[in-house]
């Protein structure tokens, strides 16, 4: 297992390096002076563009630019965002915790709702309850995030006044958590989609587990339906959910652009999207770097949890 983990970590470094390299190269495949124009605007003259290119090394060969960037990463320097006038690392440091809070809470909430819902659907499968919840899942899955968010704001914030119209505006994690009312609507908005998807996975995973031989054995040995359901079937049915969770980590880190926009909660999603649309190359490569790390980490965590959840699984 240890050897497996070491090999996976080394592979992950190569993957992350490859992603960063690819993003760097792709973000430089634009017309000359594009980064300068994006930053300086239409009033920039040739002298100012030249100075900008020199300051940010865009006048050097692409290989040299990447080498300078890589050296920076190794020293913890991800460069500076020209548009936002902050270092990429400080931007990520300020936005990432906010994103982790919002998306993390919504994911946990979604799991707490989706798993019981999935089980309920299996227990009551092919009944009105099952059909209703299936339909609700499809509606939740199909509902555009911006529409759900705006409707929630309209009904529960502006019309009824039950909740604030925007997510917590504090700059720190503790400040955000100190305003739980303001988290309700954005969390629900984000969680609906996850609940829809996870509950469907849980339902099918439980149904598959309940057809296994060990379930028949457990019943034959006199186990109560409750014991069979929770002690035997659930644990095995959760294994695919664990894998899904691991794969969700990049999404958690990457943020939720729509929810962030609708609820005025600038996080990693908005940061990355703006970096791409505004040709803020250092920021784009920096956020991609973080997303790449989250992806490989998520996969690694999923694999480790898989081993813990299923003793039959061994990595050689």
């Amino acid at each position: 297992m240890t050897g497996y983990l070491i090999r996976r970590v080394l592979q992950s470094i190569v993957v992350v390096f490859g992603v960063v390299l690819l993003t760097f190269l792709l973000s430089h495949l634009y017309t000359k002076d594009a980064a300068a124009r994006a930053c300086l605007g239409p009033k920039a003259n040739a002298q100012q563009i030249q100075q900008f290119n020199h300051q940010y090394h865009y006048d050097k060969p692409i290989v040299e630019q990447f080498w300078i960037y890589t050296k920076g990463i190794l020293h913890g320097n991800l460069g500076n965002s020209c548009k936002l006038h902050q270092s990429v690392s400080s931007l990520i440091r300020s936005k990432l915790p906010k994103t982790l809070v919002l998306v993390g809470i919504s994911t946990i909430f979604a799991l707490l709702v989706a798993i019981p819902l999935g089980i309920l659907q299996v227990v009551r499968r092919n009944t009105a309850t099952d059909y209703f919840l299936t339909g609700a899942s499809f509606v939740g899955y199909a509902m555009p995030a911006f529409l759900l968010g705006e409707l929630l704001i309209l009904w529960f914030a502006l019309d009824l006044g039950w909740f604030p119209f925007e997510a917590p505006q504090a700059a720190t994690v503790w400040g955000i958590l100190a305003d739980p009312r303001a988290l309700v609507l954005p969390v629900i908005s984000l969680a609906v989609l996850t609940i829809a998807g996870f509950s469907r996975y849980m339902r099918s995973s439980m149904m598959e587990a309940l057809t296994e031989d060990y379930i028949r054995t457990a019943r034959a040995k006199g186990a109560s339906p409750k014991r069979v359901l929770y002690r035997h079937a659930l644990r095995n049915a959760l294994i695919p959910i664990i894998t899904l969770l691991g794969l969700t980590l990049p999404a958690i880190v990457g943020g939720a652009i729509i929810t962030e926009t609708v609820f005025n909660y600038p996080g990693m999603g908005l940061l990355t999207t703006n970096a791409a649309t505004q040709n803020d190359v250092p920021l784009l490569v920096g956020t991609t770097f973080v997303a790449a790390i989250a992806t490989v980490l998520g996969n690694l965590i999923a694999d480790v949890l898989y081993v813990i959840a299923d003793p039959r699984v061994r990595y050689s």
Partner: protein, 646 residues
Amino acid sequence: MQSFGSGRRGTRGLVVLAAAAIVVLTLAACGGSSSGSGTNGTTSSAPAQQGGTAYLAEGTQAAPNYIFPFTPLQYFSTTNFQQFMNLMYRPLYWFGQGATPNLNPSLSLASTPQYTNGGKTATLTMKPYKWSNGETVTAQDVIFWMNMLKVEKLNWAGYAAGTIPDDLADVTASGNKLTFHLNTSANSNWYTYNELSQITPMPMAWDVTKAGQKPQLCGTASFSEVTVSSKTTSKGTTVTPVSAAAKSCAAVYKFLASEANKLSSYDSNPLWQVVDGPFKLTHFDTTGNVTMVPNKTYSGPVKPKLAKFVELPFTADSAEFNALAAGKVDVGTLPASDITANATTTGTCGLKPGANNPRLSANYNVYAGSTWQINYFPFNVNSTGNGGNSGKLLKQLYFRQAFQTLVDQPTLIQKVFKGYGVGTYGPVPVCPTNNFAAQELKLGNPYAYNPSKAKSILTAHGWSVKPGGTSVCSDANKCGVPAGTKLNFALQYVGGSPTEDQLMQAQKSSWAQAGIHVNLTTGTFDTVLSAAVPCSGGSSCQWEYENWGGGWIFAPDYYPSGEDLFQTGASSNSGSYSDPTMDRLIKGTTVGNSDLGAYSVYGAKQLPVVWQPIQIGATEINKKLQGVLPLNALTNINPENWYFTK
């Protein structure tokens, strides 16, 4: 197989578990603190109240991010200057008097400059303003700025080769009187509005290279003591400090710029607390939340009545609208998508907003005011597109006239901008009402929409006009291009905006009426800007029309004299337009004694670019907040004038 439908007791637990999760969130919601009120006032009929907190919505994703007034171009924005720095550090001259773009003597730190010696000498007298640390705003504080400009001009947003400080022989101070000695004569309006407008006096407290130091040489030296060596090569221009005073300026700039890079320290750094404006900063975070309180030592004519002025950041128009609907902001912009009733136009510049959005009408009034800008998109007179004929065609005035005559600005304003817009007729804005544009242009568009006229122009110049199709040149002698040339052009514009899409598609249909076929494509902002550059032929010079959607905003070059836009070889003359008469007229407005009238008319009629309508924002103002009007044409805000009524 045994069904689990009989396990009802087991399922009860599942329902409870799922519900518990929902209950947890609901309980959390009930236990949280309530948000503060965005307004603070009573009925509007009672007298002004002292105090209160006014909330301003910042532009979407446009939070301030620079505090040092000596700003590089990338941070030169309305958000940073007009809505942030200018509230704390007053520029030497304030522009925007009421709704006009004129110099505002009452808010300026110096008297209106007097020009003598044939326009080669400008003299002004400093008013008795105070810095918040007790020192006086002196002529030397202006020279401090000028000294730094001499050394660090390449880091100044408004610098262009040949302009301030390059055009100065010397700047001298005698008591509170300053004298600018120019190398050559300058038009007084141009020099005041475009050159002196760039100056912000700096306190001696900033003349340091580390915290707690005494003033260094940069702020105390005379302008002539600062000597530099400039060198221009193919790789660009470098400015090297030579004298001790110049080296001091370089060191001071480096220190101040590095302090300005520490955004999280803006509200705590003592440097930035030395202000001469009506407000000082008490809170700033990197998300864009700004809180200011009145500067009790402000020397200006109107002292703030508010207790606090707060700026709030927003991720999107919809988020800002929600804040307005919740009453969280006092002054904000009504997103175009939420305008529910068209504005109406009276005369050339009169704009009457329509009924307010029903969600906002109880608490807000809506207003609209023109901004000091023109909107246009350039064409490339050297284009090698269309078999090498595009450039030749775009050089023909008759073609440009036909093209412009098919742009129906009034209809575009009504249908696409919902009435919130004004037309651009030439290089000098006709709105807001001003004394710069010729009266002739204020009476109307010289190229008003007229498809029949457009077709006649083309027909008269040898074109076989095919409405809905593609017109073809049938007489080369009249067309100016070979027979058989088709009117087929490529126009790239910035995508991602439904408004811009509508605008371009509507015009494409208009142009098609005369058989001018325009192929529309979209690109990112920087792609379009990168494409719209001067070129002189060859395969890389094929662009024909490029539209970045914003035209030109006149700041800090408030005098729209055109030397940056339409003069031959000008830095922003993207399409390489060149006309000796235009050059002569522009020169008259910068170094001669001409006003802008002749230039504005000539530019309007010669069509160096394609004029486009300007979209105007609708501003929502809390009914209990007074003093915000009139809206400043240069987007300056004066919260010191704001007050709540009961």
